[in-house]
Symmetry: C2
């Protein structure tokens, strides 16, 4: 009997024709599909014996519920949304692969998937986000690169759509987040340079609109404070996210009357720009000037000398973000979904004790420029 029924389902599958549906499972056992559905979804009004028979049959027949068929009734598509902003100069994101790997790993353990979209501008991101929301392509969203005042957050919050931020924001109301303690990293970087003997230490911040940028400046400042050094606003350079801007920012800082002998950078890419500055000005990194940055880009290992930096574990970040978001979607309050993780120091060769004092460095620069 059971075999007779089974062969029908089997035939369906072999024919490549339509899939095994919930009705096939129901027919195979002689129950109704409503019973199968409730059994598989853990409703309490199904006898344990029945539940067992059903789940075994489902397994045997290879039944897989169709997420989008479930979604039409439940409103859940079991998918996490991720909208990336990819500008021309920022296309290279080496961590992205790891980040995505983390997200998808966590997601697929719960049998969720992730829906990705991209846009080129901030406005484009919001529009894309709206489209995904309208078409309900995802049950919730991961928001990377959060701004101090983030309009994505405002939109989603207003529509009551679950989301989690990778980063923090100014107004944390109803926000869940995961973030790396960039402020701690910058404090540690500054402390480290001080312990190496530097006293004129600059900071090249990231984009002002980003929350992390503000936090990292605060960390830098905290590092100075802890050592009793006074914070000099002149030593906070122009914001830089790219090599080109980093180069410019460093040049400006070096042309101060009392130039810094060490630099902290909010982002690696800006720090890599300093290598060009150094080459052009005849300085040697790790000797004439020291630098410590943040991100952990692989490029940093290829620079000469290698870039000392605080690396973030993007894979772990993706994983945690996915898990937190799923919890959020399932109803946990956002206040209970906030996590911070540390960045880890990768020591390479770009930070060493100063060979020149600030004054000597200034002199040296003047001399070099005359050649």
């Amino acid at each position: 009997m059971r075999n007779g029924h089974t062969s029908i389902a089997a035939k369906k599958q072999v024919a490549g024709r339509s899939r095994v549906t919930i009705s096939d499972v129901a027919d195979d056992l002689g129950v109704t599909k409503s019973t199968v559905s409730r059994a598989l979804n853990g409703y309490p009004d199904i006898a344990e014996a029945t539940r067992l028979r059903i789940s075994r049959a489902a397994e045997r027949l290879g039944y897989r519920p169709l997420a989008h068929a479930q979604a039409i009734r439940t409103g859940r598509v079991r998918s996490l949304g991720l909208v990336l902003q990819i500008d021309a100069d920022d296309g290279a994101r080496p961590f992205l692969a790891n980040f995505i790997a983390g997200v998808t790993q966590a997601a697929s353990e719960e049998n969720w998937t992730i829906t990705i979209a991209t846009a080129e501008s901030e406005k484009g991101v919001r529009e894309t986000l709206s489209r995904l929301v309208d078409e309900h392509k995802a049950d919730g969203f991961i928001l990377p690169r959060t701004l101090l005042r983030d309009r994505r957050v405002e939109t989603l919050r207003a529509q009551n759509i679950p989301f989690i931020m990778f980063g923090r924001t100014e107004d944390p109301t109803d926000c869940a987040w995961y973030d790396i303690k960039g402020e701690d990293a910058m404090r540690a970087a500054t402390a480290r340079l001080i312990s190496l003997g530097h006293t004129r230490i600059a900071h090249v911040p990231g984009g002002q609109e980003y929350t992390y940028s503000k936090l990292r400046i605060e960390g830098y400042r905290a590092g100075l404070d802890a050592a009793g050094l006074v914070f000099d606003p002149d030593l906070v350079g122009a914001p830089a996210l790219t090599g080109r801007d980093g180069d410019a920012s460093v040049r400006a800082l070096l042309s101060l009357p009392e130039p810094p002998t060490a630099f902290t950078f909010a982002v690696d890419r800006a720090a890599l720009g300093a290598y060009r500055t150094a080459r052009d000005l005849g300085l040697r990194i790790g000797e004439d000037i020291s630098i410590i940055a943040y991100d952990g880009l692989p490029e940093g290992a290829y620079a000469d000398p290698g870039l000392t930096t605080f690396a973030v574990n993007s894979r772990q970040a993706g994983e945690r973000l996915a898990r937190l978001l799923i919890k959020r979607i399932r109803g946990t309050a956002p206040e209970d979904l906030r996590e911070l993780a540390p960045a880890t120091l990768v020591e390479r060769g770009s930070d060493r004790p100063p060979r020149l004092s600030s004054a000597d460095l200034a002199l040296r620069l003047k001399t070099n420029s005359l050649i």
Copy 2:
């Protein structure tokens, strides 16, 4: 009258309560939802005037059909699948962001989305692929990094699931693809080194199981043939995908009795390993030995001297792949969906005329090793 109806729909929306459905549109106009559906989907049995009224009303009410609700009847979820293999040593894929940007751009122009998953092994990729197929999370798949004999292809082909390869494969039956002409690039690289005056030119291939690897070796060989140089199997090094392996492969080649003065690499990462070799052996790249690679990684620009390489436009690749796959899903025959694009040379400093002959280089290496 119309306003009366409209306000009901509007109220639904304002309340944040359920969305605007096809029935709302139908009610607003006093027609049935079947008419609305057919009007919006271009069925021929709807009067032009009616179609216009309906599409205007849909627009006005902000109606967006739910892709997953449509899917349950049509079997199309309007999503492209992408399963990435992310191994530990290969996590850094700088092109990934651009690639994804290309895919999503093309996809969203047609109002499709992309569903991404990752796995860590070849087997894991196939399992993940199966899961996505079983749950019908995507209507078709993009297969990156194709192998000469690719089991993903065999599976999908057998189940008659639309797919497109990024790369080619041994048995092209029923396969659509987009690929970069790596063979042409390697031929050009070899020809370029020959025209600079090199005569002992090595090639460090990629993973043997990959199709591109075989093609690039062929290109290298074609470059030699074109100049009348004989192909020496000893000058094809050990396969290398990472810096470490590239380093080892180059060392072995340099220890030949007649070492090569120039190297072509199937992949940039292996070529970057040669910088370490050179440093260790006291050689100067671009002077004592020349190298040309392939991929266009941004790291290459930070190496000293910069790595000359053939760059692939990953964004364009993603875009084309998405468009071709959508066509495939809509029914175009795979034979009509095959495209090749060229890689473009990025000239930096790693390839120059030889300063030493092969014999002199051998001598020099022996001397250096004695120090």
